[in-house]
Chain length 410, copies 2
């Protein structure tokens, strides 16, 4: 069985002529992705999208996290349109920039200032530079396999780097406080920053939550050694806690970076920090042609407000727990030890013993045939447009998939 | 005399509490800017904008170049709205990405492929990495004082850098072929790329056009030594030549970067390259959460089409020549040796002998009082919404400014 994809293939063939690899980055058609996955999308609404061949999908990627409230949320689009009538990119910022900075500082407990850019990478890289400026040190420590953006100090690719790009970057195993402390010792008085995601959400493997005491240990090490603790909340921000994901795990970073969910599909990123980093933040150059975009800032303000008003964090968690339980039970019924790892609002699926992801890929392919878009090697995302009924629809589709998977597996 | 700016000051005061420095980057209230310049804008339409205190301005910055056709161009906004109904940031690219890549490859003579991002910096930095990947060399050569973005290898700030950030970057004086050749010799077989803007448009000084033979010399050196010639056309692209600014100066780069004018206020950037760089381009990681944004891509396609249909390059040049002549004559009438340097479509103003920019700053302040937004230390930008009447209005305002400047100057 398969799905219509003539137009998708036709577009991809055209693309390979004018785009290196046809599609690049996290959207690239990678090995292990279900062959029935479309290459090109046509439209989206709420928690559903349609591909260019007219196939309809129940969406569990939500623009890889960029969509928090749902595609084309009407209140978001109304706010955007109102601002659009005045303009977006002008010669000066608008009042929206001040209002958004105030909103971030109000919501995030340790934040005394905020700046805005377009990409997650813009702010994660800038944050390491602010840490270097503040500490007058060189090293950045990060968890092995963690994604922090496209820049040469951290990107997951293999090309276009010289060894010197990472001369002052060192890595430790997520949750391994001893290895982290050893690195801090090895580079004594020369570690500017430790950059971490709130939990470990690497691709191609189950998500790892922080071990008991991990975050407090990291925080203590940073305070003790004068290291700046940079929280990369680009992927998880707005989904785990309204006040920033550190609140869920009970620690306090010095700087935090946000993007994805902040703009509900309008490109914007933000970096916030503690008071004592204000001078460093002021002294590290930061700008972009469209970074004062008043429409994206209007949307971000509205998105923060709506997320609070609609209690989106709780909703996603509740729905995520329902999805997790539903899928686990459905899997068990068919003899599979299947679970969702990581936070329920953005889970990574896992079959016990499926180290090479074979079962997961087959499962996602079978779900795709039922119209459910489950990604086999990237964490999924729930959004505010999901409801109990859509979760149940996904679980039912997964049951069918599990039942077919038995046949394949046997 | 002054202008109302209560609200502007009030917003800036609020901003200083929640944003380091209040406003950062190229929009920051810098020393030497007219004190009557507003800190915050309210709205814009065509070639005019209104600040938050209700002052109306004739705009000669056009979002620092991001606005090519005019603020809120109706055909652009219609196209954007049509796409917006389908969605912007989905789980896959849309057909718009293929169409835009095809449009770029069709228009730019040497281009065989294109990729898209959000910021100019995204693509200038990535281009240097593609050059490194392709050549397996390390050094990047650039012109002293040239702006290529916010990344540590090239940013114009002073903070957040370690000396090692520029270990493999070397600089030469714009137009100085001998110095460039010496650098290539010094780093023999280790120069990956020469990155240059089509002409030298540094801030705080007159623009410098390429000297006779400069570009051919650069091109010859690159071909001879196997160095990748990267054209940073982020600021000038779409304003000097429909097919890329290299066409105006008669050379052929290997890679070119575009942004600003490409999206008429919707954030998008592009990088295009020759066929033999396709493998390198494919192998250097490139992605961003909102880089498949179908609205920005739709706008870019429409913007390229409208610019061609409306013959915007010719129009801006003609209007720029009119502005240049008008201002020069008006200045001369009042005893000033004033001229516009650089291309007429994006000129940098200059008073002979005004090395410290004193006259220029006073002149721009006096023009501001007449409602004309002339920047005293960044090149100006014309847009498609300017007309002969608006140019003449600006010249008349400048005449008043020149007449008052005499009094101040004497």
């Amino acid at each position: 069985m398969t799905l219509p994809r003539t137009r998708s293939d036709e577009l991809f063939l055209r693309a390979t002529k004018v785009v290196p690899g046809g599609i690049y980055g996290h959207l690239a058609p990678a090995g292990g992705l279900p062959k029935v996955f479309p290459h090109y999308a046509e439209s989206a609404e709420g928690c559903r999208f349609r591909d260019v061949d007219g196939n309809d999908w129940l969406d569990f990627m939500c623009g890889y996290g960029a969509i928090l409230l749902g595609h084309r949320d009407s209140e978001i689009e109304e706010a955007a349109e109102l601002q659009r009538r005045d303009g977006a990119v002008l010669n000066q910022p608008t009042a929206r920039m001040v209002e958004l900075a105030e909103a971030m500082v109000e919501r995030i407990d340790f934040a005394e200032w905020a700046v805005f850019a377009k990409n997650g990478s813009d702010v994660t890289t800038w944050a390491t530079r602010v840490a270097r400026e503040h500490t007058e040190r060189r090293f950045v420590l990060k968890a092995r396999g963690a994604y922090h953006g496209v820049d040469a100090w951290c990107d997951p690719g293999f090309g276009g780097r010289i060894p010197e790009d990472r001369d002052f970057v060192d890595e430790f195993k997520w949750n391994d406080l001893d290895e982290l402390r050893d690195l801090a010792k090895e580079h004594e008085d020369d570690v500017a920053a430790i950059v971490l995601t709130p939990y470990h959400h690497a691709a191609f493997g189950p998500s790892e939550m922080p071990a008991d005491g991990f975050w407090l240990g990291v925080q203590e090490l940073c305070r003790d050694k004068g290291i700046i603790l940079v929280l990369d909340d680009v992927r998880a921000g707005s989904r785990l806690h309204e006040g920033g994901s550190h609140r869920l795990f009970g620690f306090t970073p010095d700087i935090a970076c946000y993007s994805k969910a902040l703009g509900n599909g309008y490109a914007i990123s933000a970096c916030v920090g503690r008071e004592d980093l204000r001078r460093g933040a002021r002294d590290v150059f930061l700008t972009g042609s469209c970074w004062n975009d008043a429409v994206a800032m209007t949307v971000a303000i509205k998105c923060l407000d709506l997320a609070r008003k609609r209690n989106v964090v709780d909703k996603l968690n509740t729905l995520g727990v329902r999805l997790s339980k539903g899928l686990r039970d459905a899997g068990a019924k068919h003899g599979f030890s299947f679970s969702l790892t990581g936070p329920p609002a953005m889970p990574f699926p896992w079959f016990d013993g499926d180290g090479n992801l074979y079962l997961l890929q087959k499962f996602c392919e079978l779900c795709a045939l039922e119209g459910v878009f489950f990604h086999p090697h990237h964490n999924w995302f729930l959004c505010g447009a999901h409801e109990e009924t859509t979760i149940d629809q996904a679980v039912n589709a997964a049951s069918v998939a599990f039942s077919k998977l038995i046949a394949k597996h046997d």
